[in-house]
Structures are given as structure tokens and as C-alpha cells.
């Protein structure tokens, strides 16, 4: 996993609540057996017209979204299906950060596992960011600093966010979660022995 320390990028606003993972990556793309190839299908049904041409009304197809790497979204982002194809698609498209008032639990976890930082801000802070992104004449940029837990835009916006220390460490250092858990192997083995012993006592 690529370590994430601090990131400055263009913000693309998607002011919708309850965006589900079926919208982020529709089921017809879940048949791939690789972790790649999902970026082009990100937000497929919103992003493309029935004939396959880009839908000019959708924000990702607008000039202000060019090169964007930070998605600003409505509450409960990523609800529904557990498909990790959603963060894969977002990451491959180029998103490193998603800012929202709240996230669905599984999606939040899936993002962290893929080096995408889900940033939770207050409703007031999120609306202020939407306002600033909409008002900006040039592409709107913010900086997200994971170590200090701050989002700033250089022109007066400053908000702090928290992310559980264990997760933050993995993100900051780009740790392999399985490798990290395997350091606890002795404990796992001890637990497993006790567990299996209880089961076999019952099963005789």
C-alpha cells in the first residue's frame, strides 16, 4: 500500500447523500478477477450516457474536475454492498481522499485498506467546503495532512479530523495489514488451541 502522509489536490464536489457502492461501481464490472481495470467504470451510470459518451451534466466530466484527487461527498457515502471494487475504482481514477460527514462502515474500512483516506468532518465544515468549491473560479484545492489530522485550503479554511490510531499508522506507513497481524501469531495460535480444545471436548 502506498503510504499516505500529506496530500494536496483538486476537490470535486458530489453533493449527494447516501451514494451507494452500486453507483460507485455497478455490478456488471464486478466480474473482473483483478484489482485493476475499474477506474474507467467509476460512477458508470451517472458518468456515461446510454450511447457511452460522457454525460456533460455529471461533475467528473466537467473541466473543473480535471486532475481531481479529492472527492467531497454527501453523508453516508459508500453505503450498501461491501464490494471493495468501489475503493479500487476510486483509487484507480485518482482519488486519494474522500471527505464527507459520514461513511458506511464497511466502505470506510475498505478505503483504509487501499490507501484512500476517508475524512469525516462536521456537517458545517462539509457545507463550507461545498460552498468554497462552488464559488471558486479556478479548480479548488485543499491539503489533507494525515499526521496532524487537518484539512486546510490556504485561504482560511481549517478543519481537524480524527482517524483511529491503528488505522492511521497503517495509512501513514503504508503497512501490509496481514503482515502486521502475523506479528501476533503466537496469540492467535494460543487462542486457536484453546478454542479447538473446547470444540473437540463437545464433539466427543
Amino acid at each position: 500500500m502506498t503510504p499516505f502522509t500529506t496530500h494536496t489536490g483538486i476537490v470535486v464536489p458530489l453533493p449527494r447523500a447516501n451514494v451507494d457502492t452500486d453507483q460507485i461501481i455497478p455490478k456488471q464490472f464486478l466480474k473482473r478477477v483483478e484489482r485493476t481495470g475499474f477506474g474507467v467504470a467509476l460512477f458508470h451510470d451517472w458518468r456515461y450516457l446510454p450511447d457511452g459518451a460522457p454525460n456533460p451534466a455529471f461533475v467528473l466530466n466537467q473541466p473543473r474536475a480535471a486532475g481531481a484527487s479529492i472527492l467531497l461527498a454527501g453523508a453516508n457515502f459508500g453505503c450498501g454492498s461491501s464490494r471493495e471494487h468501489a475503493p479500487w475504482a476510486l483509487g484507480e481514477y485518482g482519488f486519494r481522499v474522500i471527505i464527507a460527514e459520514s461513511f458506511a462502515d464497511i466502505f470506510f474500512n475498505n478505503c483504509c485498506q487501499n490507501g484512500i483516506v476517508p475524512v469525516r468532518l462536521t456537517p458545517a465544515e462539509v457545507s463550507e467546503l461545498f460552498r468554497r468549491a462552488d464559488a471558486s473560479e479556478t479548480p479548488y484545492q485543499v491539503t489533507v495532512d494525515l499526521a496532524s489530522g487537518e484539512v486546510t485550503d490556504g485561504t482560511g479554511f481549517r478543519a481537524s479530523f480524527t482517524i483511529e490510531a491503528y488505522r492511521r499508522e497503517s495509512l501513514l506507513q503504508g503497512l501490509d495489514e496481514i503482515g502486521r497481524t502475523q506479528l501476533l501469531n503466537e496469540e492467535i495460535t494460543a487462542f486457536e488451541r484453546r478454542r479447538d480444545a473446547i470444540r473437540s471436548r463437545i464433539e466427543v
Binding site: 449527494r16 453516508n76 471493495e84 459520514s102 486457536e192
Partner: protein, 476 residues
């Protein structure tokens, strides 16, 4: 300290507690399906890691599989590749697989309980959000992403932040024609699709206690649609009766010992939940979704809501979008909306009890002209059982298609999909835009209500269907 059911299960499975952080939980049962596992196996292979406990891992194919009679020969090469790959991986790592040739094949959340793999007190995970279903047996069961699938394959554990607890108590008795699906839709309608985020729900109360295991699974299944990490119900006599003699259930002395162990899996009196919600089940009418998430529901006697009445600008926006997508007019009665398709099936309502409930409505009636209706049993054993009971004949004679087991039109990864603009009465769990096919319009409801819609050709209150030929014949 009195403890909740959740706390008992949690504490029994913590292998390691990260200070102020998540806990490493041991996983008793890992269920695997073809869509969310290929990348996990690939990751293992690249890192040269084995599967730690193939004996605690069980796989099936369900999402992609065609449900017609030529299904073993999957026409779509991409789907076939995914299904074949699971076969290869299961063989390579020594994992038990219920493939298309198996008489036990079916939707992962149907076959786990059916085979007796799902048992009280277990931790169960699967790369699938509806893993919450298994909580109906008093287990702690939750969906995970593919990175975690790989993590569980490699370590038989999962890192999990401790969720908060929520009790949802359904007091009172359900009315006639009202069932488990209506309970859970009413709850989601009340608290919203993020209403239980970060929580594990325990369902309690008279109405829950009275449900069959199938009904309890329906309720727990849709916990995720309220944002919950898991849903659970304390095991009782109904649970034990369901499990007894299932292929993987303990037998003889082991059975008695197990029931003793399971019987203490209840919330202690005076245990504390972080949140409590109480709903009087007797006030719930048959529910139908009108919008594009499972929180957008109304009683069948209700009307399509008016965005003008929304409480916030965001809600208004969302309602306008949903109504436009669904092709609905604010204020129109829900009952009477004409439908094109009916889908009875899925991990929410594809079990034998669900099919019985639908068949009871269908018996002696026929599918309305112009409506295409299908029943997709949740597993091959459900199909076989239904055929032993003659339910297939009732459905077929009425004009339903009778299919083989799979996820089918719940998500339309196989050829069963809605055409754009088609309106469908569905017993599945998600009415998201495009879920059943791009442009398709899904109304979620119970099996009885979906069956009634098939007969009437429109959304209708099952309690108000005109008498069937059989009803008339026996003088009801």
C-alpha cells in the same frame, strides 16, 4: 456486570486488543463466494501465504450463476471465468466448495444456515454485506471487503473496531398479512439507511420471538440496509429446532452439550445497550419501498411522498431525484401502481417459508396479463423442498417461471435483469438505482405482497386481494 448478547460473543472471540483501537477477532466460519474472493486468493498466492484454516472456510457460487436449466454451461465467458476460478482456488487450498453440480448449491446466506454451518455463538464473516443474515442464530456475523477476506484466509482473524450496541424491540404481535419483511422495512424507514451505522443491532420483543428462523433471517439480513455492522437475535427453541439434524449440526451427546452452551447466549437482565428503539409491531402495515434506497418506504395504504414536505434541502433533492428515477408523481396512492415484473427470491426472501407464504397467495390465482413473474429459490435444497410440497406447481400453473438457485435478479450479474423503465415488485433487499438492471425500478416488499402484485398487476394490499377460485370453492 450484566452483559448483552453482543458483549458475550465479542469477549469470547478477542484474540488481541489494540490499546484504544480495534480488536483482533477470531473467525469461526468464513464463507466465500466467487465475486469478492478472486483478488484475495491472488494476494495470498503473490505473498506465498497458505490458507490458515481451510476447515473453517466454505465456498459456494451464487452471484453470477444463470438460473435457467442450462446453467452448468455459463454462456457469459467473464462470469464463467469467475466461477471457474473459485473452483480452482478451492481445490488449490483445500476448501469445501458447493458448486453448480452440488445439490446443496445456493446463495451463501441461505446455504450456511441450511447446512447447519451457521451456529449460535460463532463469529462468521463473508465478503458480502448481507452476512448479517447469520446473526439470526445468535452469532456475530458481518460483511467484510476483499482485503479482509485475504486477511481472514491468511490469519483466520479480522481486525475490527468495537461497535456500539442497539436494541430494537418489536413489541406486540404482527397483524394478518404482515411479516418479517414489513418489520425490517418499517425500521429502516424510521431510522434511515445510516440510522444504525457503527452499531450491532439486537432484535428483541414478542414479534421477533414469534418469527420462524426464516423470518428472523429476513430481519437480520437487512440490518446492513440500516447501516448496522450486524444484526442478531438470541437463540431459543425455534433456533434449536431449526438446527437439529442439519448436516453440519452436532449430533447425539454433542448436540445436547451444544444446546446447553447456546442456551446462555442471551442478553442478561439489566444489561445496557448504547441505544434502544421500541416499535409496536401491531401498528405496522404491509410496507413497500417507493424510492431508491431501502429507507424510502411507505405503507401500502400510503401515498408517494411530496418533496415539498421534506425536512431539509438535501432530503428534498434526494426525493426529487428518486421520484424522477422511479417515474412517480408526488401524492399518488402507492396501491394501484402498475408493475411489469415480479421477482421472488434472494438471500432476504428466497427460503422455504418465503415461498410458502407467496404460494399461499398465488394458489388458485393467475399472474396478471403482461406481467412477467419469476421465483428463484435461494438454494437447490429450498427448490427441492418446495417441489416436494408442490409449490412449484402452484407457481407454474399461475404463470410464474420456476428457476434454479442463485442471486439472480437481486443484482442482475447473471442474465436475469430488468429493462430500462420496467417496474418490479421484488422481495430482495436493495432498490438502488440500476441495481436490478440499468433504469429498472425496484419496489421492495414481502413475498406475500410480491405475490399479490403479480396477481393484481399492480402494487396492492395483500389483505385486500379479491378471493381466489380456491377461496370461493371452500367458502372462505
Amino acid at each position: 456486570m450484566p452483559r448483552t448478547l453482543f458483549e458475550k460473543l465479542w469477549e469470547a472471540h478477542v484474540v488481541h486488543q489494540v490499546p484504544e483501537g480495534p480488536a483482533l477477532l477470531y473467525v469461526d466460519l468464513h464463507l466465500v463466494h466467487e465475486v469478492t474472493s478472486p483478488q484475495a486468493f491472488e494476494g495470498l498466492r503473490l505473498a506465498g501465504r497458505p490458507v490458515r484454516r481451510p476447515d473453517l472456510t466454505v465456498a459456494t457460487v451464487d452471484h453470477n450463476v444463470p438460473t435457467d436449466d442450462q446453467r452448468s454451461d455459463i454462456a457469459d465467458p467473464v462470469s464463467r471465468r469467475q466461477v471457474d476460478l473459485l473452483l480452482t482456488n478451492a481445490r488449490a487450498y483445500g476448501i469445501e466448495l458447493y458448486d453448480l453440480a452440488s445439490p446443496h448449491q445456493g446463495i451463501v446466506h441461505v446455504i450456511g444456515p441450511e447446512l447447519g454451518l451457521t451456529q449460535p455463538g460463532m463469529t462468521i464473516v463473508c465478503g458480502d454485506s448481507h452476512t448479517s443474515t447469520h446473526g439470526a442464530f445468535g452469532s456475530l456475523a458481518f460483511g467484510i471487503g476483499t482485503s479482509d477476506v485475504e486477511h481472514v484466509l491468511a490469519t483466520q482473524t479480522v481486525m475490527f473496531p468495537r461497535p456500539r450496541t442497539m436494541e430494537v424491540r418489536f413489541t406486540g404481535a404482527l397483524g394478518r398479512g404482515v411479516g418479517a419483511k414489513d418489520l425490517i422495512l418499517a425500521l429502516i424507514g424510521q431510522i434511515g439507511t445510516a440510522g444504525a451505522t457503527g452499531h450491532v443491532i439486537e432484535y428483541t420483543g414478542q414479534a421477533i420471538h414469534a418469527l420462524s428462523m426464516e423470518g428472523r433471517m429476513t430481519v437480520c439480513n437487512m440490518s446492513i440496509e440500516a447501516g448496522a455492522r450486524a444484526g442478531m437475535i438470541a437463540p431459543d427453541e425455534t433456533t434449536f429446532a431449526y438446527l437439529m439434524d442439519r448436516p453440519h449440526a452436532p449430533r447425539g451427546k454433542a448436540w445436547t452439550a451444544s444446546v446447553d452452551r447456546w442456551s446462555v447466549l442471551t442478553t442478561d437482565p439489566d444489561a445496557h445497550y448504547d441505544r434502544v428503539i421500541e416499535i409496536d409491531a401491531s401498528t405496522i402495515a404491509p410496507m413497500v419501498s417507493w424510492g431508491t434506497n431501502p429507507g424510502m418506504v411507505a405503507s401500502i395504504a400510503g401515498r408517494v411522498p411530496d418533496p415539498a414536505d421534506a425536512t431539509s434541502p438535501e432530503d428534498r433533492e434526494a426525493m426529487i431525484r428518486a421520484l424522477e428515477y422511479m417515474g412517480l408523481t408526488p401524492g399518488a396512492p402507492i396501491a394501484g401502481l402498475p408493475i411489469d415484473r415480479v421477482f421472488i427470491g434472494s438471500c432476504t426472501n428466497g427460503r422455504i417459508d418465503d415461498l410458502r407464504e407467496a404460494a399461499q397467495v398465488i394458489r388458485g390465482r393467475t399472474v396478471a396479463p403482461g406481467v412477467r413473474a419469476m421465483v428463484v429459490p435461494g438454494s437447490m435444497p429450498v427448490k427441492a423442498q418446495a417441489e416436494r410440497e408442490g409449490l412449484d406447481l402452484i407457481f407454474r400453473e399461475a404463470g410464474f417461471e420456476w428457476r434454479n438457485a442463485g442471486c439472480s435478479m437481486c443484482l442482475g450479474m447473471n442474465p436475469d435483469i430488468l429493462a430500462s423503465g420496467e417496474r418490479c415488485a421484488a422481495t430482495s433487499n436493495r432498490n438502488f438505482e440500476g441495481r436490478q438492471g440499468k433504469g429498472g425500478r425496484t419496489h421492495l416488499m414481502s413475498p406475500a405482497m410480491a405475490a399479490a402484485a403479480a396477481v393484481a398487476g399492480c402494487l396492492v394490499d395483500v389483505r385486500k386481494l379479491s378471493p381466489s377460485r380456491d377461496d370461493v370453492a371452500i367458502g372462505v
